[in-house]
């Protein structure tokens, strides 16, 4: 259990940089979605939304009151509409350099080990979409083309291949 003390207070400067890069990457990857509401569980194991009650806005953000808490959320993310072409493109674009090897720098350890600082790239991202019949398909992607294809493809749940993985309810 020697790593159990890997708490935030013990982070090295290098780790801070790395996490910062990862954070930047994640921010780019997942940007513009912004917080919507605080999820809370009303029934076991299921997240149920408490409808946000917008109280005002500034610079694209609104303050909402959820369960007695005031939080700021991105107004754009509150729209209740299917993922737009633009949003789909944002996810895909953010993955454009996910597997790029350009500009990476190696770090040599004292014991001869060589580490490649990936700057947070080479992530595996799980994305999901709703199908026409309400079922949900998921895909694990690591590049823009894959994400774009998955999100923009109007999947039919009656296909056995290639996307036979979506099962239907009745």
């Amino acid at each position: 259990m020697k790593k159990q003390n890997k708490g935030d207070s013990h982070l090295s400067a290098r780790k801070h940089r790395r996490l910062f890069r990862i954070g930047i990457f994640a921010g780019v990857l997942l940007a513009l979605g912004a917080a919507t509401v605080i999820a809370k569980y009303a029934s076991p194991g299921k997240e149920i939304t408490a409808s946000p009650n917008a109280a005002g806005s500034d610079d694209g953000f609104v303050t909402v009151n959820v369960g007695g808490k005031k939080i700021r959320v991105n107004a754009r993310a509150m729209q209740q509409a299917p993922l737009t072409q633009e949003q789909s493109q944002q996810i895909a674009d953010a993955l454009t350099n996910n597997k790029s090897t350009a500009g990476l720098v190696e770090v040599k350890h004292a014991d001869g080990t060589v580490e490649m600082d990936l700057q947070g790239r080479f992530q595996d991202v799980v994305i999901a979409k709703k199908n026409d019949d309400g079922s949900v398909s998921t895909a694990c992607v690591d590049n823009a083309d894959a994400a774009r294809s998955f999100l923009q493809n109007k999947q039919t749940t009656t296909d056995v291949t290639p996307e036979r993985k979506a099962a239907i309810k009745e």
């Binding site: 940007a31 999820a39 729209q79 060589v114 990936l118 590049n143 099962a167 309810k169």
Partner: protein, 731 residues
């Protein structure tokens, strides 16, 4: 079926004791720590009160999330062998892109790759940090987590896939929600090395060096593996659909026993006989190679949405049910209640389907129904359904099965295919199995609802893939693998679906309590020896050998393993195959025991006294038992009652073996011997030391604990032994 054995009271009390004496011990082969990277009151620290769900005992949202992560980590921790703790940094985010219809569920950073570390198997080759640490035996990356994950805290809200939730239960009863455990064990696998650091779009390798994963990516068109290709060749290979395969030896060796093709094979009438393409269900038992065979009968009502009115015709047969009007799980439950042994759902033309050739895959909606389904279900197209309906009066007979001669998702050489679509389609390329694999694999790009929280054979290839790339691992840590192995080792058969579900749940129900899981493994395994099915087959065989022939010369036991296996299988399968709890098993078992005993007493060297008292006394003497007068009388009466001769000897033999004196006297020696036969698959003297000193040690210990195998730590010791674990993987 073997479920709860009828246990002596003292055994039940030992189980309770064990819960306390062993609870602090871990069964993990690797410690995997989830590092909570969340700020106070959010993510893993979200204080929102929740009710426990599906063995997740957390009472806050944050704790349930953390429990789910730890449960998934423990699944891998029980199978991977590493002396270096694996740390997974994790957090929940409220900033992941999402809308009402699609979005991001989470992301995983597999860690910075390492090469040329101490003890690296290959020089100039990248390894994921967790694998590099394991191979080197040191923590090469210091305080940095081996992988980092972030998941979407907004999932299920109005603006994020509204109505779709992460299921935080640990029991896989996720219904139409997303099973977070399955998602996590998938993502963990990437971090353990199921991925390459080579760019498939360009073919360019990180830093100019290959990933060890690349050595196993074989392009069937060029015959080259990725490590031996140019960048341009890799770029082409990454899109060489259905021609990029995994050539690791362990995965390849298991493809024939894991991958197959689901089928409805029509046996009769000949005019429509043959294989039919089917869709599958994510509920009920998996299809098996032997399959479910029976005449096919049209349900009434045809949609199966109400109790079937033709149960007399359906019982013992396969029900053909039309799609529509209610959920699939309801249809199958109604058919099962009518006695069906399988269901074929025929697609229909309605508002949801206009394609007469379309084939659907089916999911359950109601968990409480789905978990009761014990019969297999497949679906067929409208056209095929019409073809079969026209033959209902002509002896229509079929089999629902998985055809292992045609492994789904393998190349012509039987190697598992890697997902490499010609144009990057849904799912990433190169770091997943191809979507054509059947049954669905954990490491396909789509993480489907029918996954079973297993990473090992016979369900899944993942652990073998990780062993191919250098991990030390053992599938016996995988719960479904472990349970199935108990059936194979002690009952000489594949598990029945209800018993299998019972015993896997019995261990999984421990949730994240690994001490509990270890105790339930031990007790569950011992239950196979104590079960009615084994006591009335294998243990009866042992007692018959002892009573009939005494000890094998030069040994303290009554039978060699070869003879024991032969006889056990005979009494289990001839003339009837016995699965306790299924069908008319009591009568069938009795018939088997009678037949076996009658044959056994006619073997050469078996006592052949013609008078009851002499014969019975000989049997008790061989068993080393002094019977009570009542037992002696009962055995003699059995001899005489059957008319003497072979029939009398058979009746008396069974009576002697069933006597309390014989059962009690032989219980411990039979129990210890079965540890060798079952766990180690050998006679006690088959390895150094080539004698029975090991057997005697355990027998003495078990006797000293008055047969308390838990206090004697006997089953625990066998399960943890290097010899046992080496049967299945890296010990």
């Amino acid at each position: 079926m073997i479920k709860k054995p009828i246990l002596p009271k003292f055994v039940a009390s030992f189980f309770a004791i064990a819960l306390f004496t062993l609870a602090s011990q871990s069964a993990s082969a690797t410690t995997i720590v989830i590092l909570n990277n969340d700020q106070p009151n959010v993510g893993f620290n979200d204080p929102t009160a929740v009710s426990p769900v599906g063995n997740n005992t957390g009472t806050t949202l944050g704790q349930q999330r953390l429990n789910t992560f730890q449960f998934a980590a423990n699944i891998w921790g029980a199978t991977l062998n590493s002396s270096v703790t694996i740390t997974i940094g994790a957090s929940w985010s409220t900033t992941l892109t999402c809308s009402a219809s699609s979005g991001t569920l989470g992301s995983t950073f597999p860690g910075n790759p390492l090469r040329d570390f101490p003890n690296a198997p290959k020089t100039g080759v990248w390894y994921t940090p967790s694998l590099a640490n394991s191979l080197s035996g040191t923590d090469l990356n210091g305080n940095t987590p081996e992988m980092t994950m972030s998941f979407n805290a907004n999932l299920g809200t109005a603006n994020c896939l509204s109505g779709t939730h992460f299921y935080l239960g640990l029991d896989n009863n996720h219904g139409s929600d997303l099973d977070l455990v399955s998602v996590l064990i998938h993502e963990f696998s990437h971090g353990f090395g199921f991925q390459t650091y080579t760019n498939g779009n360009t073919g360019i390798r990180t830093g100019g060096f290959p990933t060890n994963y690349d050595f196993f990516l074989l392009d069937d068109s060029t015959g080259k593996t990725w490590d031996a290709m140019t960048d341009a060749e890799r770029q082409t290979s990454a899109k060489n659909n259905l021609n990029l395969a995994w050539n690791g030896p362990l995965v390849t060796s298991l493809v024939p026993s894991i991958l197959g093709t689901p089928r409805l094979h029509i046996n009769a009438p000949s005019s429509v006989a043959g294989n039919y393409t089917v869709g599958t269900a994510d509920f009920g038992p998996l299809l098996t190679p032997s399959g479910a065979t029976g005449n096919i009968v049209y349900a009434s009502p045809t949609d199966g949405c109400n109790s079937l009115t033709n149960s007399g015709a359906i019982s013992g047969r396969i029900a053909l049910v039309d799609r529509g009007n209610c959920n699939f799980d309801i249809k199958v439950q109604n058919a099962q209640n009518a006695g069906a042994i399988g269901v074929v759902i025929g697609n229909v033309i309605n508002q949801n389907n206009s394609d007469p050739t379309a084939i659907i895959n089916m999911t359950s909606v109601t968990t409480s129904i789905a978990t009761t389904i014990l019969i297999p279900t497949v679906s067929i197209s409208v056209n095929d359904g019409n073809t079969l309906k026209a033959q209902l009066s002509n002896g229509l007979n079929g089999t629902e099965l998985v055809d292992t001669t045609v492994p789904g998702g393998a190349d012509t050489s039987g190697r598992a295919l890697i997902y490499a679509p010609a144009t990057f389609a849904s799912g990433s390329s190169i770091s997943h199995w191809d979507v054509s694999e059947f049954p669905n694999q954990l490491m396909e790009p789509n993480i489907t609802g029918d996954l079973k929280h297993s990473v090992a054979q016979p369900l899944d290839l993942t652990i073998s893939q990780l062993r191919d790339i250098g991990w030390s691992a053992n599938p016996i840590g995988d719960v479904p693998f472990f349970v199935r192995q108990q059936y194979l080792d002690f009952l000489n058969r594949q598990p029945d679906s209800s018993g299998f579900a019972f015993w896997t749940s019995d261990i999984f129900n421990c949730g994240i309590d690994q001490g509990c899981a270890e105790v339930h493994r031990i007790n569950g395994s011992a239950a196979f020896f104590l079960s009615i099915e084994f006591q009335d087959t294998g243990n009866l065989v042992y007692k018959m050998w002892k009573a009939g022939f005494g000890k094998v010369s030069g040994t303290p036991v009554a039978v060699r393993r070869t003879n024991f296996l032969r006889d056990s299988q005979t009494i289990q399968n001839s003339p009837n195959q016995i699965i306790v709890g299924q069908g008319n098993w009591q009568a069938n078992l009795e018939a088997n025991k009678q037949a076996f005993a009658l044959s056994f007493v006619q073997r050469a060297g078996f006592p052949n006294q013609s008078d009851g008292p002499s014969f019975v006394n000989n049997l008790f003497a061989n068993a080393g038992v002094t019977p009570t007068s009542a037992e002696q009388t009962a055995a003699i009466n059995a001899f005489n009652g059957a008319g003497g001769g072979n029939a009398g000897r058979a009746a008396a033999l069974r009576n002697v073996c069933d006597s309390a004196s014989v059962s009690n006297a032989l219980r411990n020696e039979a129990f210890v011997l079965m540890q060798y036969f079952g766990y180690l698959q050998r006679d006690p003297d088959a390895q150094t030391p080539a004698d029975y000193s090991g057997f005697q040690f355990w027998l003495d210990k078990l006797n000293s604990f008055n047969g308390n195998f838990i206090a004697a730590e006997m089953v625990k010791a066998f399960l943890a032994s290097t010899e046992y674990r080496a049967r299945f993987g890296n010990p």
